[in-house]
């Protein structure tokens, strides 16, 4: 009986050691991410997720640099208390996605997120700012890729999203960067012209 005692003791010590190592690892991983995402989000809302929230797989639309085509790139967000916070996380993951390497998000340098909200009618309203995009650095094709990727990223991960409305600095804009006509026909899902009419 006594001879078995050290074995139990050692097993318990090893288990405790691994638990501590995993605990520290996950704490650092989640804590760091939560902080950066919260800082990136301008709205005064609840934390996008909290320590201990489970990770969940999402797919964002990115472009294969070899052929210029959109494809699904797997990313991770964290389950939070509200679906809207999950949507916000997804949006930030998409907007801050890779801009170097063989797979890149079709988001121009300088595009900023001002706010995001979701209406009971199923419209995801994405308010962006384009002031910091260098003039001439967004053609029609690139505007289309961005809008298309944004809409598909949002709608393919959240069934509640029926349409996506893009605002520029809180207002309806004619175009994103001079070509693609916003508010007229956003890729397969007719958008509401006026936010006030929700």
């Amino acid at each position: 009986m006594n001879s078995k005692f050290p074995v139990v003791k050692v097993t318990m010590a090893v288990t405790a050691f691994f638990l501590i190592v995993f605990g520290v690892f996950f704490f650092l991983k989640f804590h760091g991410k939560a902080k950066s995402l919260e800082l990136a989000h301008n709205a005064n809302s609840t934390p996008l997720f909290e320590t201990g929230d489970k990770p969940m797989k999402v797919y964002i639309k990115a472009v294969e640099m070899d052929n210029g085509k959109l494809f699904n790139l797997q990313e991770t967000i964290y389950q939070s208390k509200t679906r809207i916070n999950q949507m916000r996380q997804l949006l930030l993951v998409f907007l801050n996605g890779p801009r170097t390497g063989k797979d890149q998000v079709p988001v121009p340098e300088g595009l900023k997120l001002n706010d995001f909200y979701f209406t009971p009618q199923g419209t995801a309203v994405v308010d962006i700012s384009t002031d910091q995009i260098m003039p001439g650095k967004m053609g029609f094709y690139e505007e289309v890729l961005f809008i298309r990727a944004l809409i598909e990223t949002m709608s393919q991960n959240f069934f509640e999203i029926k349409q996506v409305k893009v605002l520029v600095d809180g207002k309806d804009a004619k175009t994103l960067a001079g070509h693609y006509a916003l508010g007229s026909a956003d890729l397969g899902a007719p958008v509401v012209q006026n936010v006030n009419s929700f």
Partner: protein
């Protein structure tokens, strides 16, 4: 009696002169995108507005040489008021509107020609005979524009299937293709245009192969002539093109 005869002769001559003044040639609007302070897209030293005007000028020459009357929305590097542009186009007698926009795309994989037609929209009333509100694109106008894009695309040797970037609402019965060069998308240059209209992207200024092709001396003129043939096919006009000179056998 003499007075009556004089009036009759005068009427006949006046009618004759009036007829002589009417330009019966089919009219085409060529709309070089951007201009002046609005440069459009840029890549290095390549500027969209410059390419647009250069290609529009070649198109204008080619259309006039083949019996068309041409209306250009701008003929120099000047700012163009959007409202004035729309009024010029909509009050013209043009059968078709060609809006020229060179484009850019950062991966460098996309090449011209590429065509955009405006999808039908909610503003259009169901009754096609009634006066449509400004900005309304009826299904009829959409299909006329699509046919125009395809007629031109065919002459340029482009894949005239729908691009998979297209707006699905314009695609009744259409199957999209990843390599299709005709896209049904809302373009600011096509909004508020009440005639069959298409945006033609002859080249991507981010594509080395496009820049090389359009850098050759005859490339722009060849492109322009093919567009004229495509538009003529669309309008059912038979062109009298010169027969190519036969090569000398060695």
């Amino acid at each position: 009696m003499k007075t009556s005869l004089f009036i009759l002769l005068l009427s006949v001559f006046s009618w004759g002169f009036a007829q002589a003044d009417v330009d019966t040639r089919p009219q085409v609007v060529i709309d070089p995108g951007h201009g002046g302070s609005d440069t459009g897209s840029k890549e290095g030293s390549e500027v969209e507005k410059t390419w647009n005007l250069k290609i529009a000028e070649a198109l204008s020459k080619a259309f006039e040489a083949n019996g068309y009357q041409v209306l250009m929305t701008r003929t120099s590097d000047d700012d163009l008021d959007s409202e004035k542009r729309i009024n010029t186009i909509n009050t013209s007698n043009a059968k078709v509107v060609l809006s020229i926009h060179a484009d850019r795309e950062w991966t460098g994989t996309q090449t011209g020609p590429f065509f955009v037609v405006e999808p039908p929209n909610q503003s259009a009333t169901a009754d096609v005979d009634s006066i449509q509100p400004l900005g309304a694109i009826t299904a009829l106008q959409y299909h006329a524009s699509l046919k125009l894009a395809r007629n031109i695309g065919q002459k340029l040797g482009a894949n005239i299937s729908m691009s998979d970037l297209s707006d699905s609402r314009g695609l009744a019965g259409e199957v999209v293709s990843p390599n299709g060069k005709v896209a049904c998308l809302p373009h600011q240059s096509l909004r508020y245009i009440s005639k069959p209209a298409v945006v033609i992207t002859p080249l991507f200024i981010t594509s080395a192969s496009d820049l090389k092709k359009f850098g050759e001396s005859t490339a722009i003129d060849d492109f322009a002539l093919k567009v004229v043939v495509g538009v003529s096919d669309n309008l059912g006009i038979v062109l009298k093109l010169p027969t190519p000179t036969a090569g000398v056998a060695k």
